[in-house]
């Protein structure tokens, strides 16, 4: 292979990597809020698929991708509200409710998709987030293809990272969030409204998750297919842990996992002898290694997974 063609492959590889990483990154960034507040939501997969469908349906009826995204965020918030209501107010098991969310997401989106758009018909034309060539930068050879020809939603997803990082680590809100996740009783003693903080964290987290799902159906593609999230909610959970609950770490993890995915596409396309399935396994093995401390230990909040019961 000549040098230009290698660089060319690399550029399109990076482009694919970023597109694969963004939905995972969005959902994982949101999960930083909920995880830090002590909520374990393995139902993000279900939230993502609901986001993916809502985006397409809302954009179809309202005629605008941005309005569609607004509806996605609202639906995400409502799902978060329901999740926290069930696990805090109704004191249900977080894992069980999360599982129910996944089933609910898969079931509802399939039903509504068939009811609204019909079975075996061509996907409806919707307004989606098209690749946006940033003037000048997009024309730089190779670098332009890799980094500056993405949809506006992609740039937005990356722009959010430093903002979340600032909120979580440098503001009072972030401090409250961590206090609630680490030691809710102590947080309560100093006047932090534990349950309220968890409600907000859970809602924000599901908003991000829903947008992550919508990215799949409105930016990567421009239609919805049944079960299109295909386990990305669980990869996002892995990214949060592997990224050690920090936005920058999550971004790195998502890009790494995305690279694995992008590599497995290339491997499958080129009919190489490297087994793609083993490459796809890497994110999960890495996350287990991180949990065991083999690649720098990842430690979750102390009060994770339990409802807060006031004295």
């Amino acid at each position: 292979m000549s040098l230009p063609s290698i660089i060319n492959t690399l550029a399109s590889f990076l482009n694919t990597d970023i597109q694969t990483a963004v939905p995972i990154m969005l959902a994982a960034t949101g999960m930083i809020f909920s995880e830090k507040a002590g909520l374990v939501n393995i139902g993000i997969e279900g939230v993502m698929i609901l986001g993916a469908f809502t985006g397409v349906a809302a954009s179809f009826f309202l005629g605008s991708a941005w309005l569609g995204l607004l509806i996605v965020i609202i639906i995400g918030g409502l799902l978060g509200l329901l999740f926290v209501f069930l696990v805090e107010t109704a004191r249900s098991d977080q894992v069980v409710v999360g599982m129910a969310f996944n089933l609910l997401g898969l079931g509802l989106t399939t039903i509504f998709n068939r009811a609204i758009f019909g079975l075996n018909t061509a996907p409806p034309k919707i307004d989606s987030f098209h690749p946006w060539h940033i003037p000048v930068l997009a024309d730089i050879p190779y670098v332009g293809v890799a980094f500056f020809q993405h949809s506006s939603l992609t740039y937005l997803a990356f722009a959010v990272i430093p903002v979340v990082s600032f909120i979580v680590f440098k503001t009072n809100i972030g401090l409250k969030l961590r206090a609630v996740g680490e030691h809710p009783r102590a947080a309560d003693t100093v006047g932090i409204k534990v349950v309220k903080v968890r409600y907000i964290a859970g809602m924000v987290s599901c908003m991000f998750g829903a947008v992550g799902g919508a990215y799949l159906s409105m930016s990567q593609l421009n239609f919805f297919t049944e079960n299109m999230t295909a386990g990305r909610g669980f990869i996002a959970l892995a990214a949060v842990i592997f990224g050690k609950y920090s936005p920058l770490g999550v971004m790195g993890a998502a890009l790494l996992f995305g690279a694995g995915n992008a590599a497995s596409y290339i491997i499958q396309a080129t009919d190489s002898h490297i087994p793609g399935n083993l490459v796809l396994m890497i994110p999960y093995v890495l996350t287990i290694a991180a949990l065991a401390g083999l690649v720098g230990k990842s430690v979750g909040p102390a009060a994770s997974g339990k409802p807060y019961i006031k004295e």
């Binding site: 374990v40 393995i42 069930l86 107010t89 109704a90 004191r91 249900s92 098991d93 894992v95 069980v96 409710v97 599982m99 129910a100 969310f101 996944n102 089933l103 609910l104 898969l106 079931g107 509802l108 399939t110 039903i111 068939r114 009811a115 386990g231 669980f234 959970l237 892995a238 842990i241 087994p275 399935n277 083993l278 796809l280 396994m281 994110p283 999960y284 093995v285 996350t287 287990i288 949990l291 065991a292 401390g293 230990k297 979750g300 994770s304 997974g305 339990k306 019961i309 004295e311």
Partner: protein, 352 residues
């Protein structure tokens, strides 16, 4: 057993079905026809009943897997991965060990599936004991690892020619049917037998007693000299083994060879089954039969009433949510108010 324990799952099922009916109406379809055909498909004929029971079989195993771990305070979300490992190990034995009679071959394949799933579960137990890693997360990660491992195996080392599947099981390693011309295979009998063993283990053996004590109150268990690490290892191995048996019975009884995604989420459904069955082995059987009936009848419902099978997912999700939110049911029933206050006191003592 208290009446409210039985009442809550029943109420949850009824409410979920009613909401399901509204969804069917909203789709412009006929809920009476839908539920009628569901019932007919699940229980209306010998074929229906046997297909209900055969669809319940993997759920009994995965439900027991979750319930057993839950009884000792562990959350095994890993049955889905354990299914794949169990299926893989059973296939290796069932395809590559040749020239043994059925009476040896089948037990050997079952044993392989149990041990394969068990070791996969034990891995999560080891990570918990050794590194303090939450089994909730590690088991989820191990699920995907197992799925891709099986995908790799059937696309590589044990591939059948050019198709992404393993070779066919030898006849000597295939479950015989319990009733000719139906799907009901030996796996169902095995699942009932295993449920009885689980009950016996939990309530009539020393280790089972210790496991339950750890689940009820870990601190008290340590104080009483129970070796919690040992219990974690044992329970995760057994729970993993039960998950593995779901894979074994599905492969030996239904599929007869290994495919890359042969489980449509039996591991996750098992969580709901255990929850609905109140983490009791016999409750788990009943709940699994209910979910099996929804699956078996769902096909008929889709065919006759044109209601998508996905409605079953929604009904299951609603049942889980309503059962899980039992605290609300109790809180809103005034008559129970006083008793709840006492219970909360007890809970606080436990968590303190």
């Amino acid at each position: 057993m208290k009446l409210s324990n039985v009442l809550i799952p029943l109420v949850a099922i009824i409410i979920a079905l009613v909401i399901g009916a509204f969804i069917i109406i909203a789709m412009g379809l006929n809920p009476v026809l839908a539920y009628g055909s569901l019932l007919k498909g699940a229980f209306g004929s010998v074929y229906g009943i046997t297909s209900t029971l055969s669809k319940a079989t993997p759920l009994i195993f995965t439900g027991l897997s979750f319930a057993l771990a839950k009884k000792s305070g562990l959350l095994n979300i890993g049955a889905e991965g354990q299914i794949y490992l169990g299926g893989l190990c059973s296939v290796l034995v069932g395809v590559y060990i040749q020239g043994v009679p059925m009476i040896i071959h089948i037990p050997l394949a079952i044993f392989a599936g149990f041990v394969g799933g068990g070791l996969w579960g034990l891995l999560a137990g080891w990570l918990k004991v050794q590194f303090g890693s939450s089994e909730i997360i590690t088991t989820v990660m191990l699920n995907y690892t197992a799925m891709f491992l099986v995908a790799y195996m059937v696309n590589g080392p044990i591939m059948d020619g050019t198709l992404p599947q393993s070779k066919m099981l030898l006849p000597s390693a295939t479950f015989p049917n319990m009733i000719q011309g139906t799907q009901l295979h030996l796996g169902f009998a095995l699942s009932i037998f295993v449920a009885i063993i689980c009950y016996f283990f939990l309530w009539h053996t020393r280790k089972g007693y210790e496991a339950r004590v750890v689940g009820l109150n870990p601190e008290a268990a340590t104080y009483a000299g129970i070796n919690r690490k040992q219990i974690t290892y044992l329970v995760m191995f057994l729970a993993g083994g039960l998950g593995g048996l779901a894979g074994t019975s599905e492969i030996l009884g239904i599929q007869h060879r290994l495919y890359q995604s042969f489980s449509p989420g039996y591991g996750y459904d098992g969580i709901a089954v255990a929850l609905l069955g109140l983490n009791n082995p016999f409750g788990t059987i009943l709940a699994a039969i209910l979910f099996g009936a929804l699956r078996a009848g769902g096909d008929m419902m889709q065919m006759v009433a044109k209601v998508p099978l996905a409605l079953i997912n929604v009904i299951q999700a609603l049942v889980i949510i309503f059962v899980a939110a039992e605290y609300l049911f109790r809180r809103f029933s005034r008559a129970n108010l006083r008793r709840i206050k006492r219970q909360e006191g007890a809970v606080k003592h436990e968590s303190a």
